[in-house]
Amino acid sequence: MTGDAADSIERLLRDELTRGDAVIADARPVLRYFLSHEGHPLFSEAMVARVRGMMLDLASQLLHAEAEGGEVRDRAAYVAERQDELASALIEDGSFLAHAQALVIEADLAERLQARSGIDAVLPLLVQELAARDDEATAALAMALLAAQARFMQNCRRMELPMQELPGDLFHAALMALGNRGGAGIELIERRLRASYDEGASRLGLIARAITGLGDEAPDALAIDRAGPAIFASALAMASGQERSSVVLSFAEGQFARLLLVMRASGLEHAVMERQLLFLHPDHRLPLAFDAMSAERARALLFAAEAERGGH
């Protein structure tokens, strides 16, 4: 064995060892976190499994589209070979994780509210009323919303994340992740996918459109028992200027302060907030002192926290 070869093996082993150390160093805090937050819904195994499932599903849709455009013969094999790698790339991008996590929390909450308080996860009162309107466009929109919401609940149970349902920015990011792998003929495929996308037809698009059209009934969207969690979350996001996913996160356990701030930033009054808490956190009470906080101040606190998060 020449000295050179020994050197190169040593170097290889050394590098491998360093990498292994890094993995162990990374794994410990994660493991500790999981152990100490056992049972916490944000870190539950169900959450991890569903987010991973959604990412794999998204990767699979993208690869199917690529295989279709590239005239691959055995598409299933083509997708299976590349699915994990693309899903990892998507997971690397925190915004996909945040989106998927919010969807899981939202679907969980919808199921819980349906069981506990009889709030229809698919057809809440507000959508019923919109569907019964004489105005054809509104009624049609309500029906489209109903279908989209039913699809959403089903998708979450199956751990699916249809790419047409992604917000525009994520759809763009997903296509970039696909294209970055440098597949053949990717430009044409990308162009076709972009042309087929319509943010306004997605579930979140339909919800936002319905809210802007409410007019006098706009306060109904800010009542979770009338609007259901999906519309409620979008309405809070619009009224408070927060990202919808961070509003949905505020529904989760341990995010009580954020929920209060989001509601106040949306202009909800004390009595109305108390009513929402009855549904979201029946065991929590609205602190009396909170009454003194103005909507502007609540908004400022939320934005400050967001800026802090962004800075790290």
């Binding site: 162009r191 972009r194 042309a195 306004g200 037809a201 809210i211 802007t212």
Partner: protein, 458 residues
Amino acid sequence: MAAGPPFTARARTDARDWLIEAEEPLAGLQLRGGGELPGIIASPALLELVRKARTYGLCLARAIRAQDDHEQVTAWVEVMPCEHGDGCTIGVSNWQSTPLPDDGGTEAAEARIAVARHLAELSARLGPRQELLAVEVRTEELEDVAGRMREALGSPWTEFALLEGNAQRQPLHWRLLDGARLRLPGSERHWKAHLVPLGGAEPGSAGFELYLVADEPPVDTTPLAEADEKGAPGMAVGREIAPVLRQPIARIIANAETIRTQLAGPLAEEYSHYAADIATAGEHLLALIDDLAALEVVEDEQFTTAPDRIDLADLARRAAGILRVRAGERGIAIDAPKPGESAPAIGEFRRVLQILLNVLGNAIRYSPEGSQVWLRVERDGARSRVIVADQGEGMTEDQQARAFAKFERLGRSDSGGSGLGLYISRRLARAMRGDLTVESAPGQGARFMLDLPADEGA
């Protein structure tokens, strides 16, 4: 897409994200937001959406919020990129605008209180029933009344003042007394009460601060130098600004009218409507300048009126003649005094006409279509009176109390007026040693009464 909304407005942008064409109300928002047409999109939210749609090559659709200086808009916006990335088409629906929340409300109230505290010549601390607890005066003129107040601590403060238009001696609700005009024994001047409620949960539960502020400065302290100073700076709307603004605005109105009446050639109906809106807005601006100039005049301490010998019946007929066309547009009939009637009075001819045009103009503006407005004259001893009665919605007592306040529009948000008209009219009436008052009840219409000294010689 499913159930596409009917767009209320469409617009087109180019590869630089400039708004090339836009329909109302998007065009208006662009201009009010400080943008130009064509020009870069002025609303940050819309600009971001359009830029993304163009660079991603995706149809994006979102609710956006935008605001200009007086309203907040939410709308549903769909942006479709054109092929080759050289611009987008925009469809807007569900356009909703709400006036901006009145952030100035509490601030303005605090400023009013600060001014009252500063100017008050009599200040007192009251208990929760408005009983006197302590009294402080800054003028010799009021020492007398303050002395009597101090002897009767515990009695309601209203016992020591003559509330204008109110014989009642029991303290009214503080909101009704805040801003009330009154006379004080031993003082020739007109006074105004300011009540500041104390106590957090329920205003007034911990008592009140009372400040009495005079309309006129103290009689004995008017050195000439000070009076000169007052004339020089200040806003000088009437003298300096109004003449400069009037001409360009008049030109805007004239051009808009030319477009509206299609003198410049045939035009789509909607554009002719826009032109009408421009003309109306311009006329409103002109009226506002006139009001501000008038306000400056009547608030000037040197302001006096000429004691013309006038006939209120004649003036009422003239006012009716001037406004008959406008009334006719709304199907409102004006019933003016008959040619034989007369009510001689002393007052300045053009000022009285100004008051009548204001009051009658309000009656026409806020009465239901097809209703009637009456102008009546009366003579009652030393007073002559002209009454303007309408069949409008009428006013509550609270509204009547507020109607004459400066910039008070009684909750109206139309572009009708500045909220200065009645304030100015009353100032004018009082400057002529008369008064302008109102009687009304909700649903009963309103009766505005202008009283002036009768012309005994006529």
